[in-house]
Amino acid sequence: MRTVIFRTAAPYLASLMVLFSIFVLLRGHNEPGGGFIGGLIAASAIAIYGIACGVASVRRALYFHPMAISGFGLLLAALSGVLSVFFGVPFLTGLWATPHLFGVELDLSTVMFFDIGVYFVVVGAITSIGLALEERERG
């Protein structure tokens, strides 16, 4: 598997996939996509990078422990639900804001942050399993 071609191509492929996963994540509300699919794509990207270049470089690139990323996602999702407390509406009610930045109308919502949380949970959980398995393989 660790051919020169694959090793050279993998970082570009992986970064493209991560970029695509973010695209899929953000467009999810109106077009096919969303946090779960996005997270799976990103996890695949990281898996490809790991197979090509080794676990150590993946961990270096990620900087955070994948399980911490997963935990952060869960926290983000929960907090985006808690925000509704301050508006006196039930837990997890979607709240929307449309600020105008540089003449562009931007749709911001707690729902989006919730979806980003889902994305991080999926990426973190799957990556940490994959990396742990790969590590054992070498160890």
Partner: protein
């Protein structure tokens, strides 16, 4: 005004817990002198509750509280009548003295702060228990007293005896708590009352119900375990492993009376029936006799007192069971008297132990010169315990005989039981109060001298209170005894008894009791030897029975676990899939919901092509010679299905399926590369046939189920709803995503939590450093975990 008093009561209920939180810090700052500061808390509570005395004496009940979960009729509410108020006063009043006493008793103990914290927590729980109006609160506080009692008994956790005693108390009282919960649920079901005040107003509803006996037995299960009635009495003497302040407070004055409180509380609505008037006196009377006889055998001061406490609780239950006005008055008077003299005597026992280094009655003597204040306090308390005028105990005993002294076999039996029990308690009370102090000075491990003020203050105050309360009997009856007796009896009762003896049957019986007591005191050593021989002859007791029960519980659960969790992955998987097949087939078979024969589908050729790819992938999985091929073939099948989703117009689903398939192949391959990928399949033919038939059954079942499902007319209510409102309400055009993140957001939150926890679990499983021979097994487990997750 009412509002202010309500908020104050609310505060008072939480104050002990707040004090428990700061106790360790205060103790670090002021060492044992923190006791003076912490004692202000129960003192304040005492004063606060005293403020309710006049109103309650006039027959009113103070109620208050806050609505908690209105939908379930669950309130945080309290109910203060004569019964609750007296208990609340005992708890806070004696609590004040106990906190001070602990300051002296555990001086320079490294964990004194923790001790203060525990005992204040207990105080809060007990306080809550006796003033609770709602059943829910009552139960929560009831269990909280069990838990704090566990912490206090096991305070000296380095010793095995303490740990065992703590666990035993928790198991027995906690188990009783569950019975109580069931009983309360039953009562709620019958009467519809969620609060004691509603229940008390319900009159005869409970007694007339067919569930009465069940509810009674369950409630008594809770009360008898808590109040250490025979045959559950054994945990209480073992609980003497706790530091003495705990024994004085929990195991004589307050917690063990919680059962009596419950019985008294329910007397107006459950009492008066044949069952009530049989069960309670029989168990109470047995406990009284067993307790006093066992007390005779002991030489340890605390053990002697513990068994007389068991006996006294039996006496209280017995009297409550009689249920006549006189009996109720006697129970009320005895309860108050007992809290005072037994609390004081326990503190005296601790004081002797603390100062002389021993609490064995055969090793003590002649301490009267060294510890005069202690001696006087002990003597006064013993006099109250023995029922000598002019102490509060005398009033109680006169009333007991006035209640029992009627003609008839039933009454005569219990009169004799009471005389024997009281006589032996008299003997033991004076044995504790006299033997260590009189006679020749005996050498003790420590050089004895009077303890500090923190230590003797408690017994002195309690024994003097017993004297003053009896001398000012009209006052104490007006404010305490009569309201309490009225609350227990359920109708207005006036207590009149005074300290001046009246000639008559009760007084004669009192004299007989004292004669029995003096006789028993003189022959105490001989009686002890006889009891020891007798118990040796029996050789078995509930205490040993508890150990046997616990051992067999562990054995049985071990056996069950070995059967259910055999540790072989093959078995787990087989069982799981057989269960799956059964779950699919059973409903279809039972309700006759088999699908009708489907018509042959007409599909475009490319759909047939994709379908063919899926079948080829599946065939490859079955015939694959090595595992890697099987995994990749499984992937082919998965991709084909994803493609079908795409063709049928479900891009989101197909997208997800693609990614899941990719990742499962990657992860499975990673897990598999750790295993030998050699093609050998060791399964014997029989096992292979079993696996094949289970797999076939699951596949067939799912197919039939799906066929059946699509033959049912499609209910489009939900789809229409989401279609209509996805954009209007949730501003999203992708219905699937809107459902996931908005309409069913809470589900998703739960799911991602599961994903994360499963990830953590798998991570832990991978990281296990398995011993060599178990490595193969662990790997298999991992592999299957991946399969399940994928």
């Amino acid at each position: 005004m009412a509002d202010a008093s309500q908020s104050l009561t609310f505060l008072v209920l939480f104050l002990p817990f707040l004090a428990a939180a700061v106790a360790p810090f205060l103790t670090r700052l002021f060492q044992h002198n923190a006791a003076w500061l912490l004692a202000l808390v129960p003192a304040f509570i005492f004063v606060h509750f005293c403020g309710y005395l006049p109103a309650v004496a006039d027959g009113a009940a103070v109620q208050g509280g806050y609505s908690w979960i209105p939908a379930f009729d669950a309130n945080f509410s309290w109910y203060l009548d004569g019964l609750s108020l007296t208990f609340a006063l005992l708890i806070s009043g004696i609590g004040t003295l106990i906190v001070l006493y602990s300051g002296g008793y555990l001086k320079d103990h490294p964990h004194q702060g923790r001790f203060f914290s525990f005992i204040l927590m207990f105080m809060g729980a007990m306080q809550g228990l006796v003033v609770s109006d709602s059943f829910l609160m009552l139960f929560v506080f009831w269990e909280l007293t069990s838990i704090t009692s566990f912490l206090l008994i096991g305070f000296d956790h380095a010793r095995e005896a303490s740990r065992r005693a703590a666990l035993q108390a928790l198991v027995v009282t906690g188990g009783g708590g569950l019975a109580l919960l069931a009983g309360l649920v039953l009562i709620w079901h019958v009467t519809g009352a969620t609060e004691l005040s509603q229940l008390l107003a319900s009159q005869d509803v409970l007694r007339a119900s067919p569930f009465y006996l069940g509810a009674l037995l369950l409630v008594l299960g809770g009360a008898f375990t808590k109040s250490a009635q025979f045959p559950f009495h054994f945990w209480l003497p073992n609980a003497m492993e706790a530091p003495t302040p705990v024994s004085a407070y929990l195991h004589s004055a307050t917690m063990v009376k919680a059962g009596v409180y419950l019985v008294m509380r329910l007397n107006p609505v459950m009492g008066g029936t044949t069952a009530w008037e049989t069960i309670l006196p029989v168990f109470g009377g047995t406990t009284l006799i067993v307790g006093t006889l066992l007390a005779v055998r002991k030489t340890d001061l605390k053990q002697m007192l513990a068994y007389t406490t068991v006996a006294s609780l039996g006496l209280l239950v017995m009297l409550t069971g009689f249920g006549s006005d006189k009996a109720v008055e006697a129970a009320v008077l005895y309860l108050v008297a007992h809290s005072m003299f037994k609390g004081a005597l326990f503190m005296v026992a601790g004081l002797i132990d603390h100062e002389s280094g021993s609490r064995d009655i055969t090793e003590l003597g002649g301490l009267r010169r060294a510890m005069p204040i202690t001696f006087v306090a002990a003597l006064l308390s013993a006099a109250s315990m023995g029922g000598i005028t002019p102490f509060f105990g005398f009033l109680a005993k006169e009333e007991i005989y006035a209640a029992l002294g009627f003609a008839g076999t039933w009454n005569s039996i219990f009169t004799i039981v009471a005389i024997v029990g009281n006589g032996l308690m008299f003997a033991i009370g004076f044995a504790v109060a006299l033997i260590p102090f009189i006679g020749e000075k005996v050498e003790t491990p420590k050089h004895a001298h009077e303890g500090p003020v923190l230590l003797w203050l408690g017994p002195a105050v309690l024994s003097l209170t017993a004297l003053v309360a009896a001398l000012a009997s009209s006052l104490s009856h007006h404010y305490v005894s009569s309201p309490m007796a009225s609350a227990v009896a359920g109708s207005e009762v006036h207590v009149h008894i005074g300290v001046v003896p009246h000639l008559g049957l009760p007084f004669t019986l009192s004299l007989v009791t004292i004669a029995v007591g003096v006789g028993a005191y003189l022959f105490l050593a001989r009686g002890r030897a006889a009891m020891a021989r007798f118990l040796e002859a029996i050789g078995w007791g509930p205490d040993r029975g508890f150990d046997q029960a616990m051992r067999s519980l562990v054995r049985v659960s071990g056996g069950v676990t070995r059967v259910v969790q055999c540790g072989r992955m093959e078995v787990y998987m087989t069982v799981t899939f057989i269960a799956l097949a059964a779950a699919i087939f059973a409903p279809m078979a039972i309700y006759g919901e088999w699908p009708s024969r489907p018509t042959f589908p007409v599909l475009p050729f490319y759909e047939w092509a994709v379908f063919a790819i899926a079948v080829i992938g599946l065939g490859a999985v079955v015939y694959a010679q090595d595992r890697l091929t099987a995994i990749v073939s499984l992937g082919i099948q998965g991709f084909a299905v994803a493609l079908l989703f795409m063709l049928l117009g479900a891009p989101d689903l197909s997208f997800t399926q693609f990614m899941v398939e990719t990742l499962s192949v990657v992860i499975l391959a990673l897990a598999m590369t750790r295993l030998r990928l050699t093609p050998s399949d060791h399964r014997p033919t029989g096992e292979m046939l079993l696996d094949a038939s289970v797999a076939g059954a699951c596949g067939l079942g799912l197919t039939l189920l799906l066929l059946r499902v699509i033959q049912v007319p499609f209910d489009s209510t939900l789809s229409d709803f989401f279609d209509e409102y996805a954009y209007v309400i949730a501003h999203g055009r992708n219905i699937v995503n809107v459902i996931i993140v908005d309409f069913r957001g809470l589900d998703t939150l739960g799911e991602i939590a599961v994903v994360m926890v499963a990830g953590l679990a798998i991570l832990a499983l991978i990281r296990i450093k398995a011993p060599k021979q178990a490595v193969a097994k662990t790997k298999k487990a991992e592999m299957h975990a991946e399969t399940v997750e994928g």
